[in-house]
Symmetry: C2
Subunit: 503 residues, 2 copies
């Protein structure tokens, strides 16, 4: 039987869950394939209501979900309640996007004369791709796991989903799955619409299965690369959407440090220790100016760090890895310890840790993501020093600029430098806390992700869709959204965007 | 020096072009990187005008381009004039798309209360990705080569382009490049906006170069896979958009065969021999019913094939490969020769070839793409026989259904079966001749392409763009299209699509 560990107490116990065998995994994939075929006949409206039923199901079991998840993750009830609300919101937002319909990119070119001769009638829109394998992350047991955004966006697109339960929260995964599966069944969705597998090896089997059409993954760079290798060895390669690793540099200009000394210290400490620093958007490197205002922020961070207790990590793998990384960042990366909090007590704990280095000392070895409550402060005098250090960093999901009230040229130069390498550029705020909305982009250049897509927000659905065009097709084979008389969604007709009439 | 062969005469001669060295390739990549940085400051309007200047440049040198291309490809002046018009049209259509602006997917969520608490202001749109390597194909020396759709769409997106000249039309590639480069220079584009390299090895060096941000490729599955392997070995993987291989099944129902016997025979012969059968959308397998009407179409095809002269192929590699494939399709695939045209005469010629097999005899070995004027006719009695054979075929760019005037159930069943595996489904027409327009989709499941994108039509631009979001950004760092007061392009604001006011 597989085991589960309570990181708050450090105790490990058997579950009644065993690893899914290769044969069982194949049967689950076959069931997902059949359900996918059956789902083709359902409408956007039906899928929207299904997603809402799933959100309702999660809400109905809120107390139980939060309790089980806290026991497995130690993330605390406040945070877990908020995260569960976010998971539900994601399902409801995708339902809204389905009803609105733009995500289909419905496009019609009527037959007619063109500069190149007669053109046929063409009607293009996006269609689901097939069963999607979803690998959730340890650090968001709801919003990036079984009940997470990959599941919601893949289902929204009309696909079926097979979840690989995260070893760090097996019981939360199973309970979440049971709730979603019950909602699906109650709603008349075909058996196999959603499935789950347990165990590391079953995940490898799943990714290699020819029935799987795409993989959504949130986790470490190493684990992601291992799955990419499996995909590269498949007869038919499939898209892999991985959210992998991120350093998230944060820059505080001298003016910002002077104008908002206390607020930046407090905010930055809160951001790098949020969820014990186990956020993919955690600011890992903060640039503070040399001088009094930078010193003051550093002193504030130092005092807060020293006063903080040990922070519960999700599992012992993260703890072991963090110790190694901290060793490398100090030994090879040259960062010096400024302050460390307590690490005593029961459970899997990390001491919050504040490190410092001069901008000119910063090397690629300093630029390693430390998944946990660790911040490297880089002290700078000039913008060129910041840019040199940024050039040594891998690309990130986010970058953040804290600027003063009147330094437009500096702000513009920093934005021009940072924007091309990140997915989201934050001003006078903190990168943790990712708004789930239409305009969100949670992605970035390698190694933060490996795609040109987002895993948070409405456009995440685009990952699990493919375009297809009908040429001179009779109405009877066209989806409703591509029929001539359909006026329920925005469409592009002969190049012009046309909105549906408002009733 | 590299050589060029005139396939119409079979004569090979030296050019004054030599293979680009690794150092030269690196210098060209560096120049493209610098130009990319410099292009960031240019507007959509500027790029639209640049694309139009390139189209004008191609038109200005039309006679010379067609003459040089005919000597290298043997495709004939009528076809090459048409293809050059298509190339120009592609540049102009992307210019239109740039001015319209929807392709940016500009999306704004205002700051405010949400069900999850306060949400920051978020503004997302698509941005260029960097220098793009473009590998054109032998069979479209204009529209899928230096002056082709990959070049136009990558430049439209704000990227720079480095072309790998196809060995089969080196002089056409160089002349096309000189025209585009002169137009760019005349328009004030930075040096390095467009570059070119020659020689197979330089192409490998280019794909491995860390400055290259994406690869657009049209060509054989084998050559594409070789480039994918190079990408997989890069430190930073990059997107590869390959258009690779396609069988393009075409089905003629009994009713269609009875209603339009002559038209289908004539059209099908024209489609599989167009451009000597060297189209990625060539129908390679045609299903004809057992019985009198199917016999009549086969007899028509047979007579036309037997009467046809040898058809000029693009190069001797294609000729050698075609001979091998024909051997496999007959020996291992079980297809029988029905008719073959003449293969005598000077030059690199292929005899048009018509093969036949019973639906129940069809195996995966029959389902090999033969790049050249070859058609395999599959004789069927039932729809199930067709579906069984389709299941043995790799996915294709297109599938085609010829149906009768009153068989709605049959049409719907075929559409449901074929649509999930192809990029474009054609009714009562022929798949060759790809309309360049807003609704076009030229792509499909592996091995026809490896992506969820198209390489023809307006949405091809999406391949060379990446999303990025600004959070709480001051106006001064925002691109014009994301500023609050901007009303020049369609945008999504707080979830609702808003069109610009018409003046």
């Amino acid at each position: 039987m597989l085991t589960t560990t309570n990181p708050t107490t450090g105790t490990t116990q058997d579950t009644d869950i065993r690893a899914t065998t290769a044969d069982e995994t194949a049967a689950i994939a076959e069931s997902a394939r059949r359900a996918f075929d059956s789902l083709r006949g359902r409408s956007r409206q039906w899928r929207a209501a299904l997603l809402e039923a799933m959100a309702d199901g999660l809400e109905h079991r809120r107390a139980e979900l939060v309790s089980v998840a806290h026991a497995e993750t130690g993330l605390g009830e406040v945070r877990l309640n908020g995260e569960l609300s976010r998971s539900q919101f994601q399902f409801r937002l995708f339902a809204e996007a389905l009803r609105e319909g733009s995500y289909l990119e419905a496009t019609i070119d009527h037959a007619g004369d063109t500069p190149l001769g007669h053109g046929p009638d063409l009607r293009r829109m996006l269609f689901p791709i097939g069963p999607v394998a979803v690998f959730g992350s340890s650090n968001f047991p709801f919003a990036f796991s079984v009940a997470g955004g990959d599941t919601a966006s893949a289902l929204a697109g009309g696909n079926t989903v097979i979840l690989k339960a995260h070893s760090s929260h097996l019981l939360t995964s199973r309970l979440s799955f049971q709730i979603l599966a019950a909602a699906a069944e109650g709603f008349g969705a075909p058996d196999g619409t959603i499935g789950i597998i347990f165990g590391t090896e079953s995940g490898r089997v799943l990714v290699a299965d020819p029935r799987i059409a795409a993989v959504g993954f949130t986790g470490s760079l190493g684990a992601g690369q291992a799955l990419i290798e499996i995909i590269n060895a498949r007869e038919v390669p499939i898209p892999f959407f991985g959210e992998l690793s991120s350093l998230n540099p944060l820059i505080v200009t001298t003016a910002a440090a002077e104008e908002r000394t206390a607020a930046i210290g407090e905010g930055l400490f809160g951001s790098f220790t949020l969820g014990s620093g186990q956020f993919c958007t955690k600011p890992g490197v903060a640039f503070l100016p040399v001088g009094a205002s930078g010193d003051a922020i550093l002193a504030d961070l130092s005092a807060r760090t020293a006063a903080a207790g040990g922070m519960v990590l999700l599992n012992s793998r993260i703890s072991t890895s963090l110790t190694s990384i901290l060793g490398r960042i100090t030994d090879e990366g040259g960062a010096r310890l400024v302050a460390t909090g307590s690490s005593g007590g029961a459970g899997i704990l990390a001491a919050p840790t504040l490190l410092e280095i001069g901008a000119d000392e910063f090397t690629a070895a300093t630029a390693e993501e430390a998944f946990g409550p660790v911040l490297v402060v880089v002290r700078f005098k000039t913008l060129d020093q910041i840019f040199r250090a940024v050039d040594l960093m891998p690309a990130s999901l986010t970058a953040t600029v804290h600027h003063g009230s009147n330094e437009p040229d500096l702000v513009r130069r920093m934005s021009d430098k940072l924007a091309p390498t990140v997915g989201r550029l934050v001003f006078n705020g903190f990168p943790t806390g990712v708004r789930v909305s239409w305009a969100q982009h949670h992605g970035g250049n390698w190694p933060s992700t490996n795609s040109q897509h987002t895993s948070v927000g409405v456009s995440a659905i685009r990952r699990f869709l493919r375009p297809m065009a009908f040429q001179d097709a009779p109405d009877l084979v066209l989806p409703e959204e591509l029929r001539e008389e359909s006026v329920t969604i925005p469409r592009r007709i002969n190049g012009a965007l046309v909105l549906p009439r408002q009733d």
